[in-house]
Symmetry: C2
Subunit: 451 residues, 2 copies
């Protein structure tokens, strides 16, 4: 048994082609390629070279999985035009990052900024723990396919778990994006921990206005040296989106399902991490994603988007206030907490209320006092799906009359980011309220047809 | 045009059978019944009498919708054995609750406790607003079908919007349930506002141990006088579950999809309101519901349940602490809030962290201090789906070594309720921790197969 099998925990799969069946198995048998053989796959003009690795037994019968030189895994769907070649014998898998590949000319220029997270991490086999370790440059060098898609300018911004990022990091990321766009980037990819990637995506959506090119956040739910890793697929398609997508918006590129078949591009203001570990954890809420990437093709899923236009001038609005709090309501919630926060200088509170946008009457007095003290109090729903409507029930109407601002179907996380941003733009309560309630980056979706 | 059509806003549908098609249309044509005719439907031994009302244009071709004497609507699926009769001419719809029907003998006894909410509310046509107005007795009297299922003992506990319920109300509801079980109820139905119904369901799951009979919470997303109301269907099937389900657990009975076709019974600790307005807003998280009701039949969806046993002795554990807080983490969260809460006497904090169970290192010092001060700090995930695993990343492991308690796949809302309950049972930190982490009412589900 090779070291690889022991490490990746797939030694319960047996035979020459563990996990392979149907079309994929047939294609491998035709070229005489077995697990751990070095193979080359050519498809849609792109070439992938790596070691054939076992598949999960739950996999379909259409995909091969290659471990690229290095440890990154990629799933490739076999079509009638896919060419498979065996280019070398079985080999042990060890991590030796090759030098970055030579850059081709005449390709779009993509800036690749790394901030940390699983996509840039590796498992420490002694402890079983995952540590951030791989820089953007490493990522690039170990996924040479990227050089077929774009000329990559890789840069490390920071190497942090994403829960440690703060509004100040949002500002720094926005500034780095702006600098690379000014230097001629045709698109920007940001590798990011998945934990708070949706918050950062929302922040960039408000900070980077009038974008000329796409800004794509990419993460991974499984570190790149695990057989089930989504790192390489997400990164390759993220770079493709940055290089070629017809829109110029902030999006998150992640798996659409648990298979490697398709990547979806979620709008930065409408996306949420909805599972702790699944590769398809990210979901667009209340709307479709903006586009899908499948077999190297980008298909738009909406007609309502801002077009890519290299001549458009980016408007930077990258200041965020720290004086905003997100408060999730629960039965019996102590209203005193609102008083304490306001006393400590809090200027904005996003409530994650129940249902159509409610909190208990027990909180009304504190909310009234906060608003009288010029704090902004806004309402979202902990249901996550749907939209607040505070006109239906008496408690909702009373909250409206206290001055609570209903935020339609804005996600609580996006609302927190937006209020932090709005209070970073202006100290004037009316100006801030207008910024908060006007749709800036599709954070409020059109009212859906009543059921 | 009748007053009914004007009120219900379906006057854009035209013809004799607006919204009806296929089998349903054919069945109506065969008996010469038109919209607003009084009809009787007999199916599976149950008889429904009411006025035929228009359907949504998005409806299927299998269901009739009847407005029962009064305003409650029910969808009935037409099968080959369903009998339809026209029993009277077109009629104006006005709300005149009839007296409660005569009770049949030899049926199971079900206690029907009302706490408020949409299921017990009516639209005020002058303002368009919804007000709580209907008592359990009214509910019963306007859905005479209930008397075919069970002998109902209806009682009003309170008439509150559910966001105004507190841990003290959980105790009162638990005590009322216990009293009715002691008086011989074969099942208990609690009508409840949907906003915090899942919190109350979790609370009752911990408070009512060793239950001899089912306890079923029922709500409605649309008030009963709207054509799309789910009130009657949920209540009828909720009473059926209380009367006849083979299990003795606390469950929530709500629509499985947006059609009236099936009701699912969710375990009280694993359910969450995931949409502000849809009728299928309630979802079991990480597990299947315990059972489905379709065409009057209860089908179990798991074999792992506590059996109904009238001789089992209920154990009451109905005290809840008010000194527990639910804190949702967000980037840049002010750790100071944890200090403030602990200074104010908080004994337990449920963190809704990111991903596998993380918060920023900026919070570590405050968390350490809280735990050193004998507060219990527990971790759940704002992802909602999946489970925390704090051994994967350094921040998670460091939180564990501070003494933060990982709660596997317990929902944040359930974890808040459970810690409130555990601290209501004991002041001893170790006893409380044991209560919190031991699976009491299926709040932690078996580890699913890794993907």
């Amino acid at each position: 048994m090779s070291a690889f099998r022991k490490k990746s925990g797939v030694n319960e799969l047996s035979g020459k082609f563990p996990g392979y069946k149907g079309d994929a198995l047939q294609a491998l048998q035709e070229v005489g390629a077995e697990i751990e053989d070095q193979i080359r796959v050519t498809k849609n003009g792109l070439t992938y070279e790596g070691i054939l690795i076992p598949r999960s037994e739950h996999g379909d019968d259409k995909h091969l999985v290659l471990k690229l030189r290095s440890g990154y895994n990629i799933g490739i769907k076999i079509t009638p035009t896919t060419k498979i070649e065996k280019i070398g014998p079985k080999t042990e898998l060890t991590f030796v990052p090759p030098p970055p590949p030579e850059q081709k000319k005449n390709l779009p220029k993509v800036a690749l900024l790394s901030t940390g997270g699983t996509i840039a991490s590796r498992v420490d086999y002694r402890t079983g723990a995952v540590r951030p370790a791989v820089s953007a440059n490493d990522l690039y060098s170990i996924i040479p396919e990227l050089s077929d898609i774009a000329v990559i300018d890789a840069k490390i911004l920071f190497s942090l778990f994403s829960e440690d990022l703060t509004p100040d990091h949002w500002t720094k990321i926005a500034e780095a994006v702006a600098a690379h766009i000014a230097q001629g980037a045709d698109g920007v990819v940001i590798t990011h921990g998945t934990d708070t990637m949706a918050y950062t995506a929302a922040a960039l959506s408000f900070a980077l206005q009038n974008l000329p090119v796409p800004v794509v956040l990419v993460g991974a739910q499984r570190s790149e040296d695990r057989p089930s890793s989504d790192a390489a697929t997400n990164l390759i398609e993220g770079v493709l989106a940055a290089a070629k997508a017809p829109f110029a918006e902030v999006v998150v590129a992640m798996h659409e399902t648990i298979s490697d078949e398709s990547i979806v591009l979620h709008r930065g203001t409408k996306v949420r991490k909805c599972h702790t570990s699944r590769r398809d954890a990210f979901k667009s809420i209340n709307v479709d994603p903006i586009a899908r990437i499948k077999d190297g093709e980008i298909t738009l899923m909406t007609e309502d988007y801002s077009k890519r236009d290299r001549n458009r001038e980016l408007i930077m609005r990258s200041r965020f206030s720290w004086n905003v709090k997100l408060l999730k309501f629960y039965p019996g919630m102590d209203a005193e907490i609102i008083n304490l926060l306001v006393e400590k200088g809090c200027k904005g509170i996003v409530l994650e209320g129940t249902g159509l946008g409610h909190v208990s009457r027990r909180c009304f007095q504190s909310i009234r006092r906060a608003i009288e003290g010029n704090a902004i109090v806004a309402m979202t729903s902990q249901c996550i799906w749907g939209r607040v409507n505070m006109n239906v029930y008496e408690n909702g109407r009373d909250l409206l009359s206290l001055g609570v601002i209903p935020l339609s179907d804005m996600l609580p996380e996006t609302a927190f980011v937006k209020l932090s941003w709005a209070l970073g733009q202006s100290d004037d309560v009316e100006v801030t309220k207008n910024l908060l309630t006007n749709n800036i980056a599709h954070e409020i979706s059109a009212r859906t047809v009543k059921m």
